[in-house]
């Protein structure tokens, strides 16, 4: 990507004044956030801070109460075909993988292209195999999700998202449900993606990933964005009290 591209600041994803309640609980408080093309934004914060909800709001898996979310300059439609069309351009990787349990690994990756993009089956399959190769699970293509380890399933989930050629991929705590020895294999795939210029929003507790791959760290607490900085600034010199507390707790041991 050229410098002029990164400098135009178009804001591929732009959240303005976003509010969301779960009953009495105000989970997103007046969120303003703009994510540029090719940027990797890591969202961190204590549990219950609203970071997952923020991530899920971007493709409207969680509807918002007020404010606006623009994707590539387009407002998120509220329901129906237009929303589905927009979601096709936004990849999502879930904490619990959510691979389609009744489909093979290969079918999991081809389903979106075939049913949503109406891609030619041969071509969809070829591309899916390339992607599975890229995330290192091509040899499992004919198995079912339950036959794979968590780390493998999550890598398939990333391939499934990539198969739609998304403009941005949302990662909602992609390594939180994994056994420790499998976290690295998933992070490596993600770091690879980041290096190739994929626009990513990553909700995570993996500070190592934030340090290596993020362009920007967004720290959330109690439904608010408390601090936004480059990883270096954030980890070495957090300005807010809550960020200092949070980092003190997780970096001590």
């Amino acid at each position: 990507m050229s410098d002029s591209d990164t400098l135009t600041k178009t804001g591929l994803v732009a959240l303005t004044g976003v509010n969301k309640h779960f009953g009495e609980l105000h989970v997103l408080k007046d969120i303003n956030l703009s994510i540029d093309q090719g940027e990797v934004v890591v969202v961190i914060g204590p549990s219950g801070s609203g970071k997952s909800t923020l991530c899920r709001a971007i493709n409207r898996l969680e509807p918002i109460d007020s404010g606006s979310i623009l994707l590539d300059g387009q407002a998120l439609p509220s329901e129906g075909k237009a929303l589905a069309k927009l979601r096709a351009d936004v990849g999502m990787v879930f904490q619990s993988f959510n691979l389609f349990a009744h489909k093979t690994i290969l079918q999991n990756v081809t389903l979106g292209p075939l049913k949503v993009r109406k891609t030619d089956p041969k071509q969809a399959e070829k591309r899916a195999m390339e992607l599975l190769e890229r995330v290192g699970v091509a040899n499992q293509a004919s198995k079912y999700p339950a036959q794979l380890s968590g780390g493998q399933q999550q890598r398939v989930a990333i391939a499934r998202a990539l198969a739609m050629d998304p403009k941005v991929i949302l990662f909602d705590e992609p390594t939180s449900a994994l056994d420790p020895e499998m976290i690295q294999e998933v992070l490596e795939v993600m770091i690879d993606l980041a290096k190739q210029g994929m626009t990513m929003v990553v909700v995570t507790h993996e500070m190592g990933f934030a340090r290596t791959a993020a362009n920007r760290v967004v720290f959330m607490a109690d439904g608010e964005i408390v601090e936004e900085a480059t990883p270096e600034t954030f980890f070495t010199n957090p300005t807010s009290r809550r960020a200092q507390d949070f980092l003190g707790k997780i970096l001590k041991h």
Partner: protein, 215 residues
């Protein structure tokens, strides 16, 4: 004992043949309408959900005999042209059974983790696609046993049509009584007849369960 059956064979044959037709036609229609209603009840459109809920609450709580009476007598009072008694009976059985199938489908959908439909929506599938490609195929496994119970109930419910001049198996006892045949043996043969009809359903259920069993 056998003479009761053999002497009156045409009566039994025609009666049960009509029962089978009533069952098959209303069964297929109920499956289609019931599944559509089930889809309504889990749809993102509030109006459809409201319609589905209203339908189930009214039809599931109305005695089937009343549904028959409404269609056979009520509709005639309102000058609604109805086709022959067979199709009127099919109509009554279908609108009644659909309500139960709707609930079976909905309960099956509820057994599928929300993450499955979220993932399907996230790749850009429309609601009908989410339902037919991802959710229902997985829900089907859980649906089979209760669905078979509803279908067996439908098969037995067809006998109510006898009270509305549809000469299916349920009308055999009255005819036999006119002929002065033994009532107990008549009922016994009808029971055996229904058991024979239900056996294929049981095998169908076994087969479907085995086919959808998780590896």
């Amino acid at each position: 004992m056998f003479s009761v059956l053999t002497d009156n064979w045409p009566l039994f044959r025609d009666g049960f043949w009509l029962t089978i037709r009533l069952f098959l036609v209303s069964g297929v229609l109920s499956l289609i309408i019931g599944t559509a209603l089930g889809a309504f009840r889990v749809s993102p459109v509030p109006a459809l959900r409201g319609f589905g809920t209203g339908y189930v609450n009214i039809l599931r709580n109305t005695p089937l005999t009343l549904v028959f009476a409404f269609l056979f007598f009520g509709a005639a009072k309102m000058d609604l042209a109805l086709p022959n008694p067979f199709w009127t009976a099919v109509g009554a059985l279908t609108i009644y059974t659909s309500a139960f199938i709707c609930e079976v489908v909905r309960s099956g959908v509820n057994t599928i983790a929300p993450g499955q439909s979220e993932a399907a929506r996230a790749v850009g599938m429309s609601f009908p696609q989410v339902l037919t490609i991802v959710v229902l195929p997985q829900a089907f496994r859980a649906i089979i046993p209760p669905l078979m119970s509803v279908l067996i109930a439908l098969l037995k419910n067809t006998t109510i049509a006898a009270g509305f001049s549809v000469v299916e198996a349920g009308s055999i006892p009255a005819a036999m009584s006119e002929r002065g045949e033994n009532q107990l043996l008549t009922l016994l043969w009808i029971t055996i007849g229904f058991l024979i009809l239900i056996v294929p359903l049981i095998f169908l259920q076994r087969w479907a369960e085995r086919r959808t069993a998780v590896a």
